[in-house]
């Protein structure tokens, strides 16, 4: 069995998964099977724990028992130390899944009297390995032998033999070593163990410490070469492989509401894309957290899980404040849909935050993650680091189809857009909240600076906090600029008044026309009457004239008649008539 394993090893490098979160991803499967790996680093960087977790996970998850040979801590100490990480070593020892062997070398008790070798160590290790059929071995700080045994020549030769022997034995081994001044390990162990070297680091930067892990070399295998932050917490070691992520996220066409109806309307009426990254930035006190809380509440109402990282307020304070604008978050916390993680950014370094976020997300498995706010990370000139960290968070969340909402405080209005440029390229939907100062008032305006993949509104809306949450109003944009608040209200009143005046003018015009029409009608009627009377008169006159004509005719006839008989008489008689 072992021979077969060794044969296949020659052809293709086999790997033993460590079970340590993230580590197997970086190394493409774990540590080289059947070969020793050197884990080096300074004091307190987690070497022992890394080794112990390798064994515990190896036996519990991959059914590969392991031997832990400790040169520093006693078995009792070890059991106690790792119990805090949830490893029940005593139980594993009882079931012959793990063997502990504490090798103690006391310089003062030892007298060298000639030729010797370390066969005793070999025998002990061999015995321990065979007694439980171990496949994995950890030698925790074998370098302490250098302090115990004076003859370095023998020791070095024996160590070389030991590592060769481990290879022959076909066990996957971790050898830990203290970091040296110029070498990876104090005693130059890397000289002997050269298949795989892992460096652990514990760096303090601006009073915050960050643990980092780097695969220095890995013969015959691809591996991530970056420094990866790692965490040690109650669940052991977890390494973040986030830097190795590419841009191959799955994208979703699903849309989710922002929780603010009017804002949804600005985003094609549908809201954000699921799995997108939303940035809400703005100056102090413009309601960034309110926008975030709205989003959280809306998500909880849909039955989604929300992980809320607050870096400035305590969860209780935040919930109280949100209650004042009608957003009730407590019920969702009780239901377990909403979880707050409140830490000061200064608590750990950036990498650590990344690691904590990573871990919390993996545990809680949220649909939505809110980071409120992100700019508190920027202490000093670490903007670049913050950017890479955020990039990794964004990549990680996107990879998991988690919608992320970040809030960011921008310090001055002039740099409203520029100060966030560092991360703007990472953001899919950027909502800008800004102060609009006018007429001795300060009002809030909101607009969508960008929103990838949708026809977002380009309008500035006035942002109002009411008892029922956030409301957006259309702002007045006119010749005198953008008006908000009371100015807007005044302007609206002004407009209303103007409309009223206009209406009155129209009324007046209408009445005037009516009056004119009536006058016209009256005039027509008078004219008509005049005409009629004139006509009647004319008819009368015509009649009279006609009568006159007739009379004259008659008179003429009568005269003629009278002249025939009595000339004079007829004349007088005619005159009389």
């Amino acid at each position: 069995m072992k021979k077969a394993e060794r044969k296949s090893l020659d052809k293709n490098l086999l790997k033993s998964p460590t079970g340590i979160q993230g580590f197997d991803e970086i190394t493409g499967g774990g540590l080289p099977t059947g070969r020793p790996t050197l884990v080096c680093g300074g004091a307190g960087c987690g070497k022992t724990l890394f080794g112990m977790e390798f064994l515990v996970r190896g036996t519990t998850q991959f059914n590969e028992p392991g031997v832990f040979m400790s040169f520093e801590e006693t078995n009792e100490e070890l059991i106690k130390n790792v119990a805090s990480l949830g490893f029940d070593l005593e139980d594993l020892i009882k079931h012959k899944k793990i063997a502990l062997d504490h090798v103690h070398v006391e310089r003062s008790e030892i007298e060298e009297t000639g030729e010797y070798d370390l066969e005793g160590l070999f025998i002990r290790l061999n015995y321990a390995i065979d007694s439980i059929g171990a496949k994995r071995v950890v030698l925790d700080t074998i370098e302490s032998l250098f302090a115990g045994l004076p003859n370095q020549l023998i020791l070095r030769a024996e160590l070389r033999r030991l590592f060769r022997w481990l290879k022959e034995k076909g066990v996957t081994a971790i050898i830990t070593g203290e970091r040296g001044e110029e070498t990876l390990t104090r005693q130059g162990l890397e000289e002997y163990v050269s298949d795989c070297v892992i460096m652990l680091d514990h760096r303090v930067n601006e009073q915050t410490s960050t643990r980092r892990l780097r695969v220095v070399k890995y013969r015959g295998s691809m591996h991530g070469t970056n420094e990866y932050p790692f965490l040690i917490d109650e669940n052991g070691v977890s390494v973040l492989p986030v830097t190795s992520l590419g841009l191959g996220h799955i994208v979703s066409n699903k849309r989710i509401s922002s929780g603010i109806t009017e804002l949804d309307k600005m985003l094609e009426g549908k809201g954000y894309y699921r799995g997108s990254t939303v940035l809400v930035s703005g100056t102090a006190g413009v309601g960034k957290t309110s926008v975030a809380a709205h989003f959280a509440e809306a998500a909880c109402k849909r039955g989604e899980r929300v992980l809320y990282f607050c870096f400035e307020e305590s969860p209780n304070q935040l919930m109280r404040n949100m209650r004042s604008i009608g957003i009730k978050l407590e019920p969702w916390v009780h239901k377990g849909l909403l979880q707050f993680k409140a830490t000061r950014p200064t608590l750990y370094g950036l990498e650590m935050h990344l690691a904590v976020t990573h871990k919390a997300v993996n545990v809680f498995k949220p649909d939505i993650v809110i980071l409120d706010p992100i700019n508190t990370f920027i202490l000093g000139d670490k903007e670049n680091e913050v950017k890479t960290m955020l990039m990794r968070i964004v990549d990680f969340l996107k990879g998991n189809q988690i919608t992320a909402l970040f809030t960011s405080l921008t310090s001055t209005e002039s740099a409203l857009e520029s100060s966030d440029v560092g991360i703007s390229s990472l953001i899919d939907t950027w909502i800008l909240l800004r102060d609009i100062e006018l007429n001795g008032e300060r009002n809030r305006g909101m607009y969508v600076l960008k929103s990838r993949g949708m026809a977002n509104s380009n309008q500035i809306r006035e942002f109002i906090l009411t008892d029922h949450g956030v409301r957006l109003r259309e702002v007045y944009i006119g010749a005198s600029g953008v008006l908000t608040g009371s100015a807007r209200i005044a302007q609206e009143a002004l407009e209303n008044a103007e409309v009223l005046t206009r209406k009155q003018v129209i009324e007046r015009k209408k009445r005037e026309i009516e009056r004119k029409r009536n006058a016209l009608k009256a005039q027509i009627a008078t004219l008509h009457a005049d005409f009629e009377s004139e006509e009647a008169e004319a008819i009368k006159l015509i009649k009279t004239e006609k009568d006159m004509i007739n009379r004259l005719e008659q008179d003429k006839i009568e005269m003629a008649v009278s002249r025939k008989s009595v000339n004079g008489n007829s004349k007088t008689s005619k005159l009389k008539k």
């Binding site: 090798v103 103690h104 007298e111 009297t113 000639g114 010797y116 005793g120 045994l149």
Partner: protein
């Protein structure tokens, strides 16, 4: 199973010399791995020193770790051969093939006795 590294281990070196008096009893343990040249040299050297210095009041227990690997843990044996002085207390360890007699005597705290 156990894989003897050096030579055949069937032949045990276990030999004891009973102590004469309880007070003056020297209990020595020699850890070896098989009958390696170093083991044989060490045993021979030890026997010689004891016969010269502690005649009649010592016992030597030779433990072959290839046969009883478990026993190595008790005395924290790393290097072989190792001589452990169990009695009189305090326990002392002497590693090597005991060819440097003077250092053995220092190690066993026998110089002022002799």
């Amino acid at each position: 199973m156990m894989k003897p590294k050096k030579g055949n281990s069937d032949n045990q070196l276990n030999k004891r010399k009973p102590a004469k008096t309880a007070d003056d009893k020297w209990v020595l343990r020699l850890y070896v791995a098989g009958q390696s040249p170093k083991a044989l040299t060490a045993y021979a050297n030890l026997k010689k020193i004891c016969d010269e210095q502690l005649k009649g009041k010592y016992s030597i227990e030779v433990i072959d770790l290839l046969i009883n690997p478990k026993l190595g843990n008790e005395d924290q044996i790393l290097a072989l051969p190792t001589l452990v002085r169990k009695l009189p207390v305090p326990v002392r360890k002497i590693i090597g093939d005991l060819s440097d007699t003077e250092r053995v005597l220092v190690g066993l705290n026998l110089l002022h006795i002799g």
